[in-house]
């Protein structure tokens, strides 16, 4: 008990001394010291807020069965292992690309997310898009024409999402399964997609001004749509998941995730 009392009295004394000392300092010094303190804190906060860290997330999206999971594992391990089935959940991983693993220079690990393509799992895409630095849209070049409508609608939805348009996220349209003989070429796919999106534009924008489905409209009205009209960069590439020809995809990733 006495110890506490003693400490209390000592503390009070110290406080008294401190206050006396502070009162002794000329006010100008005091105010300037306080001002400097406040200023530095503000600066610190501002810098923190404004400096948006560049994210290193790449999102793999596309219809179900286009080959996203295989691509994911190719990027990660360099092989497609024993095959895949329809994904029920997203595959996420932060790793150094398999092809760069042996290099000496320091490579920043990339965060790759493979979002399932099944239409019932569409909301999962919205979870990952806001933090994406780049989107790889995988298209099945083999079964392209039967799925043309679904592919173009999915692509249209991605290209008109608010987060994609605002941040100008670059998109790579990757034509997969090109090792097969009957696979279409990337130019053909590109043209067909542009035509379909053109049609979609007219029907979707006809819905109304308060369009609940899409946040933005694509391209310039009046002219036929082409990917060069998008504010974000849209490029086309080829790949073959099963035979590990994924150079285009890797190039895209390296371009967008600065080491």
């Amino acid at each position: 008990m006495e110890g506490i009392e003693q400490w209390k009295s000592e503390a009070e004394q110290r406080i008294q001394q401190g206050i006396e000392y502070v009162l002794q300092i000329p006010p100008v010094q005091l105010y300037s010291a306080a001002a400097v303190l406040v200023f530095t804190t503000l600066l610190f906060i501002l810098v923190r807020l404004l400096r948006r860290p560049k994210s290193n997330t790449i999102v793999l999206s596309g219809l179900s069965g286009s080959g996203k999971t295989i691509l994911f594992y190719q990027l990660r391990d360099g092989s497609s292992h024993q095959g895949t089935v329809t994904s029920m959940e997203p595959n996420e991983g932060t790793f150094i690309l398999h092809s760069e693993a042996g290099k000496e220079r320091k490579v920043k690990p990339v965060h790759i997310v493979d979002v399932p393509g099944h239409p019932r799992l569409l909301p999962k895409l919205d979870e990952f898009l806001p933090e994406a630095a780049g989107i790889v849209f995988v298209v099945d070049a083999l079964e392209f024409l039967p799925n043309l409508r679904g592919v173009s609608e999915y692509l249209y939805d991605i290209l008109t999402k608010a987060s994609v348009v605002k941040k100008k996220v670059p998109v790579l349209i990757c034509c997969n399964k090109t090792e097969k003989v009957t696979a279409h070429t990337k130019d053909f796919i590109c043209k067909q997609l542009e035509k379909e999106i053109d049609k979609l534009r007219t029907s979707r924008s006809a819905v109304s001004d308060a369009d609940v489905a899409n946040d933005h409209t694509l391209g310039t009205p009046g002219k036929t749509f082409s990917f060069s009209q998008c504010t974000n960069k849209v490029s086309v590439g080829e790949a073959s998941g099963l035979t590990s020809k994924i150079a285009d995809v890797e190039q895209f990733i390296r371009d967008n995730v600065k080491p």
Binding site: T84, E153, S203, R204, S208, A210
Partner: protein, 622 residues
């Protein structure tokens, strides 16, 4: 013999397949299983049947929710393997011990698997020997399991129906606990598998239970002898009997010549003098308005806590708090039960059909069993989150419901886009048809109505009034005409005068009424519409399941073409009359797999809107 046993992650990577059973699987059974069963929240059922040209498989699965693994066994349907369930659980146990998220190949598991298989086979041999003695006991067991096994997943593939009847083979071969109730929903794509007559016939008991699984949808798509379905439906309830009362001269739906003149429509001269109230512009249809979503407070969490607290009885407050902080080791079924029961009751108070709620809860339980509870979470909140996920998944449409896009596509091909409105009596088909016409008109689509309700007095006048108010052409032939022919002529007329859309109104009919359903089927098959819209009211309760399943069944059975048209979409009406009892939407979507395309929420032309999935889920779980 087992065809194949696979282990794969939920993200889709195959971790291990048995190399001994190196048979390549015909078709793609695993993908179909995932798409039409596991993702459709039917993972609570026991097995899944898959048919492909030249093969008929049954698939069984089990999950390991903690590690996110799925174990699937595939075997030929004609072989009834008793040991598969056991084998799967043993494999699960063993594999989880050697599983490592970083590892990709597990070749050492081959040896373990071989041993496990021998063990399982040996065990069932013994069991079989003892079963031979107790065979009569199985009869009664079968009834019980039939009731339970009603809800198997099925695939949506188009195929011909199997000729086999349901009950014979069950009596012939030994009763198999695993097989009962599983034999529905198979499709065969070619005639090849007709030979598998011994294979499971459709387990029509599922109709008994009233549980309709989407599997049957495609299975029923082909003719080939599904007549036994109708026989079973007797037990379902009294069929509508049009020949009941002798006092009223009933309209009879067959080809007998009609009795007297029943057409009391005013002669045309008077018609034009009626006051034409033109519905100029009532404003924007609610389809185009953005839904104002009010953000609810998170007080539902507390309510759930209070609800499940009395259930946790002996646990005590302290231990449950401790568990929620420390995180329990693994969730057991018994832990999930009280929370699931509470959820099921809540769903049922929101007017979800009882069996749908039951199946959903089973599916959620299957996906949560064995999962580790994260710390600082209660069991109830985990269950709630899983259920919410499942509900969003079910209500999210599987295909695009952009009607305008379809209309444009049909326009390019220079044919009219035909929509047929079907449903039971009094749900609001004609009213909502007018609303859809109004909405389409607002988007510069030219519409034409076809009055194929030639039965109900006043139906044609009703449509005529709507058409006059909306100023759109109407094709009518008066009463007592064959609706199928009227529709056909209407479509021809539309092609001639260049209408973009034809909206066909049909008479309301009860799902049990055989002749009426036959007439409907004839209409659909003759005209091959682009969209068959089932109109259902939101006030319906458990009957929604019955209505939709019977409609689909009859449309499939009574069609003559190999690919019968089924219900493509749902129009939910009278949505403004239910405050928050929105469960009918869930029941209908779950049972039929068709998306809800429109929601009617009032009785004026603008009261038509889209279904907002998030709001519905929130309301259901409140």
């Amino acid at each position: 013999m087992l065809e194949q046993l696979l282990i794969f992650t939920r993200g889709g990577l195959i971790l291990w397949t048995c190399k001994e059973l190196g048979n390549a699987l015909k078709g793609s059974p695993i993908d179909t299983l995932i798409r039409f069963c596991l993702l459709e929240e039917r993972s609570g059922s026991n097995s899944y049947n898959y048919d492909a040209p030249g093969a008929a498989y049954t698939l069984k699965w089990t999950f390991h929710n903690e590690l996110g693994l799925v174990f699937v066994a595939v075997y030929q349907r004609i072989l009834r393997l008793l040991y598969v369930d056991e084998l799967l659980s043993m494999v699960k146990r063993e594999f989880c011990e050697i599983y490592d998220p970083k590892r990709i190949d597990y070749n050492d598991f081959d040896e373990t698997f071989r041993q496990l298989r021998k063990e399982a086979e040996a065990r069932t041999e013994d069991l079989k020997k003892s079963k031979q003695v107790g065979r009569p006991v199985n009869d009664s067991k079968k009834q019980g399991h039939v009731k339970k096994g009603g809800a198997d997943g099925g695939n949506k593939k188009k195929s011909e129906a199997k000729g086999g009847s349901d009950d014979d083979d069950d009596n012939r071969a030994g009763h198999n606990k695993l097989e009962n109730g599983h034999s529905n929903g198979h499709h065969i794509e070619t005639d090849g598998s007709r030979g598998l007559a011994i294979g499971n016939g459709k387990e029509n008991a599922s109709v008994n239970v009233g549980a309709f699984d989407v599997s049957k949808l495609q299975k029923l798509k082909n003719k080939g002898g599904k007549k036994n379905d109708t026989a079973v439906s007797d037990s379902k309830g009294a069929k509508a009997d049009p020949k009941k009362k002798a006092t009223k001269k009933n309209r009879v739906w067959d080809d007998s010549p009609s009795q007297s003149k029943l057409d009391f429509t005013d002669p045309v001269e008077n018609g034009n003098e009626n006051i034409d109230v033109v519905a100029a512009n009532q404003g924007e249809s609610m389809m185009d308005k953005e839904e104002v979503v009010s953000s609810d407070s998170e007080d539902d969490e507390d309510e759930v806590g209070k609800g499940s607290a009395p259930n946790s009885k002996k646990k005590g407050w302290f231990s449950s708090m401790f568990q929620s902080i420390a995180g329990k080791a693994n969730l057991e079924k018994s832990d999930l039960e009280p929370a699931l029961k509470a959820l099921k009751d809540r769903l049922m108070t929101k007017n979800v059909a009882e069996e749908i709620a039951e199946k959903l809860c089973e599916s959620v339980a299957a996906s949560l069993e064995g999962k580790k509870l994260a710390s600082f979470t209660r069991i109830s909140s985990t269950v709630q989150a899983a259920m919410e996920d499942a509900l969003v998944r079910i209500l999210t449409p599987k295909r695009s419901i952009d009607i305008l896009r379809d209309v444009h596509a049909a326009k390019e091909q220079r044919k009219p886009y035909v929509v047929v409105f079907v449903g039971v009596n009094g749900v609001g088909k004609s009213t909502n048809l007018a609303k859809v016409a109004y909405w389409l008109q607002q988007h510069n689509v030219s519409v034409m109505m076809a009055a194929c309700d030639t039965f109900r007095s006043g139906a044609v006048e009703q449509l005529r009034t709507h058409a006059r108010r909306l100023q759109i052409p109407i094709f009518e032939k008066g009463y007592e005409k064959d609706p199928a022919m009227v529709a056909k002529e209407a479509i021809q007329e539309a092609t001639r005068n260049g209408s973009d859309v034809v909206l066909v109104d049909t008479a309301g009919r009860m799902q049990d009424n055989e002749p009426l359903m036959r007439a409907l089927s004839k209409l659909v098959n003759l005209n091959n519409p682009d969209l068959v819209l089932f109109v259902g009211e939101a006030l319906v309760g458990n009957d929604a399941v019955d209505q939709l399943s019977k409609f689909n069944q009859k449309l499939a059975d009574l069609s003559t073409s190999p690919n019968p048209r089924l219900i493509d979409g749902i129009l939910l009406t009278k949505f403004d009359t239910i405050d928050d009892k929105v469960g009918a939407a869930l029941s209908m979507v779950y049972i039929s797999g068709a998306p809800v395309m429109f929601v009617g929420c009032g009785q004026s032309y603008t009261d038509l809107k889209k279904l907002n999935v998030k709001t519905i889920v929130k309301t259901l779980l409140k």
